[in-house]
């Protein structure tokens, strides 16, 4: 099995740094270098760098690129100006989620970059090809030719600006710029998955290795997927496979704001309209318990009489908030904020309350 694992261009760097490695989305990835807590705090207080080269880069262009992306994507790309980015999902006709992704509107006309989850690259690419019939578009899965790092944290603007020799004060949240590294195209966007200000940089694998070393030399802390999960969780951000899936629609996950139901058409729209009108059986909530025990994915959410009404999807003892909190998918009757619910953790049942999913006050530069 291990010999089928893919590696990113930074794999050698991780091993040399002594990272704890583990399979994730088919790649051998760093979970932590020092400790999840130390890396988490580096991002909240200063700056950390993540290898996100496993993410997928799919380029769409052609005369009907806008119509095509709008057909497969829940958000409305017609509102985008060149250099702007939108978050949204691709859906199955029944409203289940194929993937959540970022759409970059390129500076060239009729061109988009779609950044998708590593585990879903092949599935997404096939989904796009299958649904492109009748559209005048070209679709290129160029994932293997791109490396990517995310530099995240309040010190990011200053450090990234210095390393790249750019003034980033004018680059606003969910916008990007093109530049060159070693004569090849590179992209910098003010995006991330941590709840902090930060940047994601796309470049050739060779350039990414150089950037990684330069950022480390500049004092940026290498951060693994362990704290990437604790950070995104505190910021209320979903992870495909946990909070979104073929069984979990954006309406169930509380992400309706990224689904433009006033668009004339997109795959899955009818199902979402129906879910909005009739309600959904289960909804994603935040739950806080007043104990240090930790609700983990798969633990049951139960009523006082022990009836199971839901299941935990992600949970931690929050590093930034020092509270035991989780996301859980629960029967909609128990979803309103402030509802008393219990979580069964091993042999004990802990009382809790439903709370907002954005546990941590995010610090984006808007």
């Amino acid at each position: 099995m291990d010999n089928q694992l893919k590696t990113t261009c930074l794999h050698g760097e991780h091993v040399a740094l002594g990272a704890k490695m583990s399979p994730f989305a088919g790649f051998d990835m760093p979970i932590q270098y020092s400790s999840i807590t130390a890396e988490h705090n580096a991002v909240r207080n200063a700056a950390g760098i993540f290898d996100v080269s496993h993410m997928g880069e799919i380029f769409v262009n052609g005369p009907q690129a806008t119509e095509f992306v709008n057909h497969i994507f829940t958000n409305d790309v017609r509102t985008l100006v060149p250099g702007q980015i939108l978050y949204g999902m691709m859906l199955y006709p029944d409203g289940g989620t194929v993937d959540d992704l970022l759409v970059y509107k390129e500076f060239a006309p009729d061109a988009y970059l779609l950044v998708v989850n590593a585990a879903n690259i092949d599935k997404d690419y096939e989904w796009m090809l299958r649904n492109a019939e009748g559209f005048e578009v070209g679709i290129l899965n160029d994932s293997d030719n791109w490396g990517q790092v995310a530099v995240q944290g309040p010190a990011s603007e200053q450090i990234v600006g210095k390393v790249l020799g750019m003034d980033l004060s004018g680059l606003s949240f969910y916008h990007f710029a093109d530049f060159e590294l070693y004569g090849k195209r590179a992209i910098i966007s003010r995006t991330g998955y941590t709840g902090e200000d930060g940047f994601e940089i796309y470049a050739t694998p060779e350039a990414i290795v150089d950037l990684w070393r330069t950022f480390l030399a500049a004092g940026v802390v290498p951060c693994g997927l362990g704290c990437r999960d604790t950070l995104r969780f505190e910021a209320g951000l979903p992870l495909y496979g946990d909070e979104l899936s073929a069984e979990i629609s954006p309406v169930m996950a509380g992400l309706s704001m990224f689904c433009k139901l006033d668009k004339e058409e997109f795959i899955g729209k009818d199902a979402l309209v129906k879910q909005k009108a009739e309600g959904v059986a289960r909804k994603l909530v935040g739950i806080e318990i007043a104990d240090k025990a930790i609700p983990r994915a798969g633990y049951p959410v139960v009523t006082d009489d022990g009836t199971q009404i839901g299941v935990v999807t992600t949970g931690y003892h929050s590093i930034s908030l020092d509270k035991s909190i989780c996301f859980a998918l629960v029967d909609s009757a128990f979803a309103p904020l402030g509802t008393a619910v219990n979580i069964q953790i091993r042999h004990k049942v802990f009382p809790g309350t439903t709370v907002k999913k954005r546990f941590y006050q995010t610090n984006y530069k808007k």
Partner: protein, 125 residues
């Protein structure tokens, strides 16, 4: 290479036992704490609870995962290390000093099936 103390007994699930008369003092090995990473919470039984050999009596929680604790012996819990409630990191810092529970054994012959330091060294790698 994790540290293994000569004068202790070990379970295959990485608990250690120090025998003091009919009392078994139980903790987790250096290997186990290294595998777990930073321990943030220790879920323990109460004094007076009964534990059974090879059944779970609590858990260690790190940021990332929880790992159940299995009792190496059967008996009654006569003491719980309350210091771990506020300082779970003691298990990382000093795994052989940070005992978790003390059990009054109901059948000390259960110790016979535990591993010696030399035997445990073979599995703790």
């Amino acid at each position: 290479m994790s540290k293994i103390l000569e004068d202790l007994l070990y379970s295959e699930s990485h608990e250690w036992v120090k025998v003091d008369g009919n009392i078994a003092i139980i903790g987790v090995s250096d290997f186990a704490q290294e595998e777990m990473g930073d321990i943030t919470y220790v879920d323990v039984p109460s004094e007076g609870d009964t534990v059974t050999k090879e059944e779970d009596f609590g858990a260690l929680e790190s940021v990332k995962a929880s790992s159940e604790l299995y009792s190496p012996v059967s008996g009654e819990v006569v003491a719980v290390n309350e210091e771990l409630e506020d300082k779970p990191e003691l298990i990382n810092e000093d795994p052989y000093g940070a005992w978790i529970i003390k059990v009054k054994m109901s059948d000390s012959s259960e110790l016979d099936s535990l591993l010696t330091a030399a035997a445990y060294e073979e599995i703790a790698k």
